[in-house]
Symmetry: C2
Subunit: 324 residues, 2 copies
Amino acid sequence: MTTIKDIAAAAGVSVSTVSNVMNHKSNVGEETRQRILRLCQELHYIPNAAGKNLKTGESKTILFNFGDFDRSFYLKIIEGINDYAGDNGYDLMICTTKSCEKYMHNKLTDGCIILDYRMEDKTIQRAATEQYPIVVLDRVLPHPYIKSLVVNNYGPMTELVEGIVERGYRKFAFIGGIEHTDDNKERFQAFIDVLTKHRIPFRRENYFSGDYREQSGYQAAKIFMSAPELPEIFVCANDNMAIGAMNALRERGYRIPDDAAVTGFDNCERAETAGLTTVAAPDYERGYLAASSLIENIKGGGNFELMKLTAVVEWRKSVGICPF
Amino acid sequence: MTTIKDIAAAAGVSVSTVSNVMNHKSNVGEETRQRILRLCQELHYIPNAAGKNLKTGESKTILFNFGDFDRSFYLKIIEGINDYAGDNGYDLMICTTKSCEKYMHNKLTDGCIILDYRMEDKTIQRAATEQYPIVVLDRVLPHPYIKSLVVNNYGPMTELVEGIVERGYRKFAFIGGIEHTDDNKERFQAFIDVLTKHRIPFRRENYFSGDYREQSGYQAAKIFMSAPELPEIFVCANDNMAIGAMNALRERGYRIPDDAAVTGFDNCERAETAGLTTVAAPDYERGYLAASSLIENIKGGGNFELMKLTAVVEWRKSVGICPF
DNA sequence: TTGTAAGCGTTATCAA
DNA sequence: TTGATAACGCTTACAA
């Protein structure tokens, strides 16, 4: 492991001179600079980020945190973040829940983007400061140094359920995601508001509380199938659960949408091939915007206003005209 | 930002005492320990990893590097790595190509798993040492401190192409991935070997060199469709390109597999819903094994022998019985 | 049981 | 144009 000292020794100069070269300072003789640069190449010198951080208190690195490996659109978000950060001189570091706090504090990173719903509000709010701005995705957090970037769930869910009602469906089941998430609350609220508006009854037994994973949708559908009457349509809080539900229904020989219709939310990769009616959020764009907001805020120029992106309903063959 | 000094001051002790508490040393009085622990809670003290690394030269963190956001099974690999690392007291840090080298050197991480094919062999070989073992996925790299973990491409591709021949197909097209990758070479070699064995001619014009992305498969199919005669089957080096090809074919009104059959490789999420015949690699398991090998090697107990995982062919409806 | 001090690799300040 | 030196937050001998 080559350090700045090794380079200094090899070049016969002091460490400060090497440091000055590495940081493109102008106070170094051209000949010395060249010699040092050559040595860095030869000895494969890469400055130690820990040492640098410790001293400067800034890392030119942003952190992205996620914790759900079932949602393939996360990769699109990462791609958006990666592209913006890369183009703007910032490194991207990604971590899963467990290790995140360590990197958030202490200026190991300059700011972060949080997507993991298991990260507690309090933790995030405590970490955010003027010097360490945070962007949260898919949740709204009041705090002077946290910017929330959400996709508007209420609007498109309203549109979706209105469309379903229009197609004649009346007996609804709702497969919800993690209860306390804003996403889930908004999606359910839009759902129930449309039903109320049309005076369509919805009984609490027809709400199943899942965890956004495919397995829980599968399980939910199994439970609904054991009831005396099958719902006409399963509105699910995300695609994974919708796909789980579809699988369970098909296993029992039900056809979709003839025997029961299903809708999701997210427009994940499989939704298209599965013909699942769903709501499409702009993932790459979300990531890109999150990174750009964060970096603006790190630099001090930005703002912390809530930002809403709009998603659109994708009608596919998992919903037809209600045959009942 | 609370530092060890703040805690020491608040508790009226020296920093070494605080350090001893944080590191579960036994040489601290019980009452002092309690007081310090309480203060850490109250002041939200989180030890600065940079300072710690710098001093100890170890981070209890492993690094995972990837760089392709199109391949959703990467998340499964990450999940496997994350689970093993988490269960064994290691943190996981993930980075994309650009920022990787910085974290590889200098003991910012204790070892790494490399999946990005854009990372050069030389770079990896230079970074690997007894103190910094590396695991590479999907490529074979001779080096005393690099362990290669590959899925056996040759075997399952042979099985796949044999099966295709058996079903009566004779006019093949091959849509390859990035030329220099071992994956691509092996997949193509198996393909050509089976054809040769059965004396089925394959002309170089029927090889298209893609880049593993959906777009390049789409493009490839378009090019093949502009030739006088359409191949009976498109064997693709991965699923993304296969799905791209399927889309292009369908856009022109061709039915799959009636007018042309298609196969992929990877068994990505969409492959199942798309009914694509493909080869399934055990992704979660790969990640898990990679992490376990790496951590063994960090601890010094492991080995650096090449490890091969076997993939299996998944026959789906994108290949039928050859109608020609 | 606790404290002192050196040092990890860097940068910044100041002096030469 | 260069070099000493202190400091960032932490651990670890060693001394008290």
